[in-house]
């Protein structure tokens, strides 16, 4: 308990203090036209989250150096970044924007970014859930029926690694709206690994479990819905995180076609203008959104795993 507020804790706060000093007092070498208040606000948010985490750990009586180590790393990075970019201007100008400018983006374009997040998350969740559901259902059916497996498993193995983005033109022709096409790209990205995984799982079902089901006179439909589906569920839940990562990878590309908002769109648009202030801001938003979604998946996973 005591160690929670030991040397490391003090060190983190010394670092924070120096960071604030650097930001506020050291003279800028690089021309920065924005105020540093948004940056300070950002730092404050990080600090508050860190303290909340510590408090939560303390309540649980668990001790972990994790949060403090992370926050130390974060402050150190911020100091290096601010010193190299804004203060001494020794970093490459375009691709290393000033932290002040990056954090200013969150405030100046809060409404745009908010809308982007909503748009991306909707698209992502639709593609993600659709891909998962299709992957699980088709995977189980193909895995369970040997003939389908023998036919589609090799085909899927060839198709899976082909980047869904090359199918974009076909999707546009085949699907009613651009949004559905974008959605489908994410869906494909999530679908293939899930499908392959489910086929393998289902076809390597525990022999004893199978015997058990067979002696109960279980037929195909019951087999799939009552035995295989619950059997693979923990596997599916365990894979949620990884699938989310894949979905996120696809998002950037999906939003290149037919999106008019979204985080991926925000980043690639900024990229077009070599506006790395926005690019970096976009990446940070990415990170935050992913973290939140990760927590959501972790929750879903915990919620629906009733047996191990």
């Amino acid at each position: 308990m005591r160690r929670l507020f030991g040397k490391e804790f003090a060190f983190a706060h010394v670092l924070l203090a120096s960071l604030v000093l650097v930001v506020t007092c050291m003279p800028n070498q690089r021309m920065v036209t924005v105020s540093y208040y948004p940056l300070l606000a950002g730092l404050a948010v990080i600090e508050v989250l860190y303290l909340l985490r510590l408090a939560a750990l303390r309540r649980r009586g668990a001790f972990s150096t994790g949060p403090t180590d992370i926050v130390v790393l974060v402050w150190a990075l911020f100091i290096a970044w601010d010193v190299c970019a804004t203060k001494l201007d020794i970093a490459p100008t375009v691709i290393v924007p000033a932290p002040e400018a990056v954090f200013n983006v969150f405030f100046a374009q809060a409404d745009v970014i908010g809308a982007d997040i909503v748009s991306s998350v909707t698209l992502l969740v639709m593609g993600y859930v659709g891909g998962l559901a299709l992957g699980v259902v088709l995977g189980i059916v193909c895995g369970w029926i040997p003939r389908l497996r023998a036919m589609f498993f090799p085909i899927a193995n060839v198709l899976a690694p082909i980047p869904p983005t090359v199918f974009a033109p076909y999707l546009i022709v085949l699907l009613p709206t651009f949004r559905t096409a974008s959605c489908f790209i994410i869906l494909l990205g999530v679908f293939w690994p899930q499908f392959l995984n489910m086929v393998v799982r289902t076809s390597s079902l525990d022999a004893q479990l199978l015997d058990n089901a067979r002696t109960l006179g279980v037929r195909t439909f019951t087999m799939i819905t009552r035995i295989i589906l619950p059997y693979v569920l923990p596997e599916v839940l365990k894979g949620l995180r990884v699938s989310l990562t894949t979905a996120f990878l696809m998002l950037t590309f999906a939003e290149m076609l037919g999106a008019s908002s979204g985080i991926g769109y925000f980043i690639s648009n900024a990229n077009n203008y070599a506006n790395y202030t926005n690019v970096v801001a976009g990446i940070i938003v990415c990170g935050v959104v992913v973290t939140v979604l990760s927590f959501a998946t972790a929750w879903v996973q915990r919620r629906f795993t009733t047996w191990r």
């Binding site: 100008t93 033109p169 546009i172 022709v173 651009f178 008019s260 690639s268 077009n272 070599a274 506006n275």
Partner: protein, 348 residues
């Protein structure tokens, strides 16, 4: 109209009907990202010109490469980007029509601040390693020019390396991987202070060449013709505002693109120490397009033996009609007279 008559005329005289039809139709127009190259359209939209001309247009985001797919499957009526997709689609027998211009020229050649070689003739490029932004039309025109000047562009005299991410290209220049990098208008401006300067433009070697065009689908042309005319009229008015009222236009574009004012001004109008090479002219520029079609053939990107001619797919009548309307409305406006003269030179 003469171009149009040549188009389908011989086959089907009766089909000329479409030239007087399709007013007030809903148009879906594809745009890519928040690029401000389409400034006249943005201005016309923001200042309500489309509504005033009775044109009901909806802007739809779409990736450059996919716009033409959507257009040829009639999911889009028109788009404002890309001359390359139009040419390549036509060369393969698809129906897509160029009916106006978006950008003329637009590629700049950048190098390190310390780069001091004179680049006057093709000879001067010998031995240089050049990075290019892949979709940039200027790089294709430039390659053709070098080829015509007798250089081997496949590594013998110059090497070309392709990038889809401009910043990657510039970083490569800074590291000395490339001597030159061909990028789009205004990238040179962004890179100032990053050790990069603009050393030449493609235009100075190869003359005017088309970049983004206004393309429309077969269906739009034949069923929404008068709506396209109204669109073009509003767009021309937008062009006039762009030309004559920078102080109205710049805030609009800043707002649209989310970029800084300094950038927008430099990109659209140039500054004291930065020349913008891009010209957002709405003229379809038939001659330049046909020449560019040949360029693509020459550098081998479209089938040299293609049986399809671009001739049949550049429609100038829409622009002509819109310009006539405006000449009638404001007979004294110098801009319209200039455009009228340019039209004659560019399209006949």
């Amino acid at each position: 109209p003469q171009a149009q008559m040549k188009d389908d005329g011989a086959a089907d005289e009766a089909s000329q009907d479409y030239l007087t039809q399709g007013k007030g139709e809903h148009l879906v127009c594809g745009v890519t990202g928040k690029l401000i190259k389409i400034a006249p359209a943005i201005v016309a939209d923001k200042l309500g010109y489309f509504e005033e001309e009775g044109c009901d247009v909806e802007f739809q985001q779409i990736a450059l490469n996919d716009a033409m797919t959507a257009l040829t499957s009639n999911q889009l009526d028109m788009d404002l980007f890309g001359v390359v997709p139009a040419c390549t689609y036509v060369s393969q027998g698809a129906k897509a029509y160029i009916f106006g211009g978006t950008i003329l020229n637009g590629s700049e050649i950048c190098a390190l601040d310390s780069f001091d070689r004179e680049l006057k003739a093709a000879e001067d490029f010998k031995g240089l390693r050049i990075g290019v932004n892949r979709p940039e039309t200027g790089q294709m025109v430039f390659k053709e020019w070098l080829q015509e000047e007798g250089l081997d562009i496949d590594g013998g005299d110059v090497t070309f390396t392709y990038f889809d991410n401009d910043q990657g290209g510039f970083e490569a220049v800074k590291k000395g991987e490339f001597d030159l990098y061909i990028a789009n208008n205004a990238q040179g401006f962004v890179q100032r202070g990053n050790g990069i300067k603009v050393v030449a433009t493609v235009k100075q070697y190869a003359g005017d060449y088309p970049c983004c065009r206004q393309n429309c689908s077969d269906q739009a042309l034949h069923e929404k013709y008068l709506s396209l005319v109204d669109f073009e009229t509003a767009l021309l008015r937008g062009y006039k505002t762009y030309k004559q009222e920078p102080d109205t236009v710049i805030p609009l574009l800043v707002d649209y693109s989310g970029q800084e004012e300094g950038y927008v001004r430099a990109a659209m109008y140039g500054t004291d120490d930065y020349d913008n090479v891009m010209d957002p002219s709405p003229d379809p520029n038939r001659n330049a397009v046909l020449k560019f079609y040949d360029t693509l053939k020459n550098i081998g990107e479209i089938d040299k033996a293609t049986v399809y001619s671009m001739d049949d797919y550049v429609v100038t009548s829409i622009y002509r009609t819109a310009l006539d309307t405006l000449l009638e409305r404001e007979p004294d406006e110098q801009l319209w007279k200039d455009l009228d003269q340019a039209y004659a030179k560019n399209n006949e």
